[in-house]
């Protein structure tokens, strides 16, 4: 920062990411309200604490090793070849890709007068990590042990989504180079991955007591408090604005980067290809609206599904929302919601999966649909401005969807849940589930009330 203009640019970028982090905090507030609203009275406090503890658990592990993984796994390892080789001019800080910066003991992982970006960038990614863990949190309410969820939250929040982000959500990621994978606002890298992880856990965890009749017919449990659900989902929508902004680089000169004649200042996506904050605002709102319209229609006006469908609409269009026309974003959002809704009930009936908040559908299935459609609609677009990258294509995107939902989502979720279940550490005892996890709290509160009332007489 040796002149006012460069200082302004750096400080603007620092402040920009800082604001996105604050906005994204609302996603977590929303998830907490949503989950509590869906859970029954006897489980409210445990449900709340389970999701609240995502914040410290994922944050400290993201500092210990999550951020390091993101920068360490770009080439697979041993799958692609990094373009950050020192000759391209992209090697940052003497070896960013080699983790000199993301190492938790690095001087740049702290207040450092020579760096204004690492902390806010770390935090923006961290908030994505909370979201990944929160997606799983909602699906497993009212029967999972807190200690098991803590391990699962760290696994998805600080390990597995991080690997997929390194592979497919980095300008140097091997999936972008080799497959032509494109996922600008994380249909796959967060939503399909976390949805797949949730499904893997649910497969082992099993349904809540009473969810299915003896003949296998599913029953609806809750939501107990539709107002908390409503406000929670509105807050998630609000935080999603911050998420979209956080996925962009706000100001970047592509001229020297791409070898253009002269300068070209623009916002870019995570792959350093151009888009605009204005354009993605069109697409965010149109895909939200497409999702709400289809959700209201297909669920016959069910509020729970209509609100969730707004979210699913955005998620389905997110992979290509840096380039889509707004009407394309709307229609893709509608298709994603239709498939997610139908898939939810088919899987529920067929495999007896009790997904308490529809997380697998809203995030997982809508995310997969978004990736596949993106492969067709953006077929032939360059996945990067740098040389040697595959173009966006349907096969690459379908393989990408399998990697996100299956390889880095469902499979690790299922394996970790199996291990925890084998140790008897996955699910709460039957008697506790019947009584309710908050029984002791409620009993103590009632005793306090009775004692105070008796004194007042």
């Amino acid at each position: 920062m040796d002149n006012e203009l460069s200082a302004l640019s750096v400080i603007f970028t620092e402040f920009y990411y800082w604001v996105t982090v604050v906005l994204m905090f609302l996603i977590h507030v929303g998830f907490c309200m949503y989950e509590v609203g869906v859970s029954r009275h006897k489980n409210h406090l445990h449900t709340l604490m389970k999701n609240t503890m995502v914040i410290p658990l994922v944050t400290v592990t993201w500092f210990f090793f999550g951020w390091w993984i993101y920068w360490a796994m770009i080439n697979g390892p041993w799958i692609g070849t990094s373009i950050m080789d020192g000759n391209s001019g992209l090697q940052l800080g003497g070896g960013y890709g080699a983790n000199e910066v993301a190492n938790p003991m690095s001087p740049i992982m702290a207040i450092n007068l020579g760096d204004h970006i690492n902390g806010v960038f770390w935090a923006a990614f961290l908030l994505f990590s909370w979201t990944a863990a929160s997606i799983v949190s909602g699906a497993v309410i009212e029967r999972i042990r807190m200690s098991a969820f803590a391990i699962l939250a760290i696994a998805i929040g600080s390990v597995f989504w991080t690997i997929d982000a390194s592979w497919g959500w980095h300008f140097d990621g091997w999936m972008v180079k080799v497959l032509g994978y494109h996922d600008a606002y994380a249909s796959g890298v967060i939503h399909a991955c976390a949805g797949g992880f949730a499904l893997g856990v649910l497969t082992v965890l099993g349904p809540r007591i009473g969810k299915f009749a003896s003949d296998g017919t599913p029953r609806n449990i809750g939501p107990r408090n539709p107002w908390l659900v409503t406000v929670g989902l509105f807050l998630i929508y609000t935080g999603f604005w911050g998420f979209y902004a956080a996925c962009n680089i706000p100001i970047f000169d592509l001229g020297p980067e791409y070898g253009l004649d002269g300068t070209f200042f623009t916002a870019t996506n995570i792959y350093v290809t151009p888009t605009t904050l204005s354009g993605i605002t069109f697409n965010f709102l149109m895909s939200l609206s497409g999702g709400l319209l289809m959700g209201y229609w297909v669920s016959k006006g069910d509020p729970f599904w209509t609100y969730s469908s707004g979210l699913a609409g955005i998620i389905a269009a997110s992979a290509g929302n840096d380039l889509y026309h707004p009407l394309q974003a709307m229609i893709i959002g509608m298709i994603g919601v239709y498939v997610a809704y139908k898939m939810h009930y088919w899987v529920e009936r067929k495999f007896k999966i009790d997904d308490a908040v529809g997380a697998v559908a809203v995030h997982g299935y809508a995310g997969i649909v978004g990736l596949v459609i993106c492969g067709f609609v953006l077929w032939g677009y360059p996945s990067s401005g740098y040389e040697g990258y595959a173009a966006i294509n349907p096969i690459g995107m379908i393989i990408g969807a399998i990697i996100m939902f299956g390889l880095l989502g469902f499979l690790p979720g299922w394996i970790i849940a199996k291990v925890l279940n084998g140790m008897g550490k996955l699910r709460i005892p039957h008697e506790v589930e019947l009584a309710g996890m908050d029984f002791n709290y409620m009993e103590a509160a009632k005793a306090d009330e009775d004692a105070v009332t008796a004194d007042q007489k």
């Binding site: 001087p107 008697e431 002791n440 409620m442």
Partner: protein, 71 residues
């Protein structure tokens, strides 16, 4: 030991690292990771104890309704 004793000298020297005890990051990291692991172990044990105690009460699915406080 303070890393910075004079802002003028620090900034003139181009020093950018200003937190205390520079060079001992590994020690803080070991302490933090040790606490993190102990937290998981203690939390799991505490949860098991609480669950066993509650399970032994043999409460039914509607018994919590007697404990809903009205204040």
């Amino acid at each position: 030991m303070a890393t910075v004793t004079s802002w003028v000298e620090t900034l003139n020297a181009g020093e950018t690292v200003i937190y205390p005890f520079v060079g001992t990051e590994w020690l803080w990291l070991i302490i933090a990771i040790a606490f993190w692991i102990v937290w998981h172990v203690r939390q799991s044990a505490s949860e098991t104890e609480e669950n066993d105690e509650l399970a032994s009460k043999g409460k039914g699915s509607d018994d919590y309704k007697n404990n809903i406080a009205n204040w």
